[in-house]
């Protein structure tokens, strides 16, 4: 049996659009989806620009019985899972229930629901806390509800592994496919816009306090002053290559390799080595060398020392090619949604492979570093291998290698 995990479906719920039909044109054209926060009103906090999925309401996406039991982050995950299954043309019942699992990454959990119930606890007393608080706030709520809602009883879990957990979830799903699962729904979702969650984020000291959506999130520039937070998420259908082939599925990309390291909280200068090692490990697992990398999707923290470290990692990895391999950070256009940020990057990277285009870094003009950062318009490129980098604010560094389905299948061991 071939060891390869292949992506056959993408489901995206992003500030830039619902579904790949909206998401890809917005990302390709560098559309700016950042705006003043509307969900916290009035907003007493210094962070005012964010990426919100303002058009999304659970009606029509989520069973009303489930809506009252779940937080907004789970509504996103359920909608994204439906979109991914539709994109993959995969009916869950066509896969044995014990061979189809769910793997998500979570950073915030169900914070908005949780805040509402905790307010009831302290304002009115314990008997005023609803029974669904027990399941709605929980990090595993998305994996659980996607599993229940689609009748998936295969190996499932949740990774609470910092922001880079979004890439680690893809690797964990690949592991389940190697152990006998045929299909996995993989991804993550975040809905971190309530006062409690906003206070948690402010403590990071990494969020942009710019009031101008056009300039709030400018990674790799002299104006880099933090990132704009975002809500949303993505789910991917990832299948065993043989299982995908036997049902005649259209393969969008091969998940060829993964690496993860940890370099400590708030030590971004250390993350250069951490990212380098993660990328090298991911390429080795894919059976490739850095020479094979055609484009890099960057983590793009928009913190001066973090940006410098990431640029250094790319330079160390690619050597003299670093100044001519296209690199990009589409999230500058819609914000950074924590554990779902890297999953959205994977979705964008899969679409880039599919369309032969490297999307731009919206709103960024003058890159401070000797990198070929794509700005302005998307750049046509013969993409065979794309590297996705992700870092967590607490020190996780991960890398994922995606390959065009017509590339020779290697790695995944």
């Amino acid at each position: 049996m071939s060891p390869a995990a292949v992506v056959t479906g993408l489901g995206v719920v992003a500030p830039s659009g619902l579904g790949v039909g909206e998401f890809w044109p917005a990302v390709r054209d560098g559309h700016l989806a950042l705006a003043p926060i509307g969900r916290i009103d009035p907003n007493p906090y210094p962070v005012t620009v964010a990426g919100e999925v303002a058009a999304f309401a659970p009606d029509g996406w989520v069973d009303p019985r489930i809506t009252v039991q779940t937080d907004r982050f789970t509504h996103f995950a359920l909608a994204a899972a439906d979109l991914a299954l539709e994109d993959a043309a995969l009916e869950p019942a066509a896969v044995g229930p014990f061979e189809f699992g769910v793997m998500t990454a979570s950073y915030s959990g169900g914070v908005e629901f949780g805040q509402r119930e905790i307010e009831r606890l302290w304002r009115n007393g314990p008997e005023h806390v609803g029974p669904y608080q027990s399941i709605a706030w929980f990090y595993a709520a998305c994996s659980g509800q996607v599993s229940i809602g689609n009748g998936l009883r295969g190996p499932s879990g949740v990774l609470v592994a910092d922001e880079a957990g979004g890439l680690d979830a893809l690797a964990a799903a690949g592991g389940e496919l190697r152990r006998g699962a045929r299909a996995m729904l993989v991804g993550g979702a975040e809905a971190p816009f309530c006062p409690y969650a906003m206070c948690c984020q402010l403590g990071l000291g990494l969020l942009s306090t710019s009031r101008d959506p056009a300039t709030a999130y400018q990674p790799f520039t002299g104006q880099a002053g933090g990132f704009a937070p975002a809500e949303g998420g993505a789910m991917l259908v990832v299948e065993d290559a043989d299982a995908a082939r036997s049902r005649g599925a259209a393969v969008k990309a091969v998940v060829a390799g993964h690496g993860a390291t940890y370099t400590g909280r708030r030590q971004f200068d250390q993350s250069a080595q951490g990212l380098l090692r993660a990328a090298t490990d991911a390429l080795a697992e894919a059976g490739l060398t850095p020479d094979g990398v055609d484009a890099v999707f960057l983590d793009a923290m928009a913190d001066p020392s973090a940006d410098a470290a990431e640029a250094e990692a790319v330079r160390l990895l690619l050597g003299e090619r670093a100044s001519r391999v296209p690199v990009t950070a589409p999230k500058a256009g819609y914000g950074r949604c924590y554990a779902a940020a890297a999953v959205l990057d994977v979705a964008a990277a899969v679409l880039a492979l599919e369309h032969g285009l490297v999307p731009p870094t919206p709103g960024v003009r003058d890159c401070l570093f000797d990198l070929d950062l794509v700005t302005g318009a998307a750049r046509p490129a013969d993409l065979r291998t794309v590297l996705v980098l992700s870092r967590g604010v607490y020190g996780g560094n991960s890398a994922l290698v995606l390959r065009h389905p017509e590339s020779p299948i290697t790695g995944g061991n």
Binding site: P64, T67, Q69
Partner: protein, 80 residues
Amino acid sequence: MDTRLSPDDLAALISRCTGVPVTGEQVTDPSRTFDDLGVDSLGVMGVLSELQRNHGVPKDADLRPHQSPRELLALLPGRV
């Protein structure tokens, strides 16, 4: 505190707490259980808690999914 609930009021309360659309007619049908309506044990617990908090149902009242909303209606004060 409003303790007087009509069957339609109770149906609306169940819908709000559980997300399950319920009619006043279903609430008065003694043969229809919460299970039949698609309300699970956590849903029943949420409905009962709401009635205990705001509608005068005794704290020691108990209710399970195999029971009917009609039985719940009987727990409300001022009703038989």
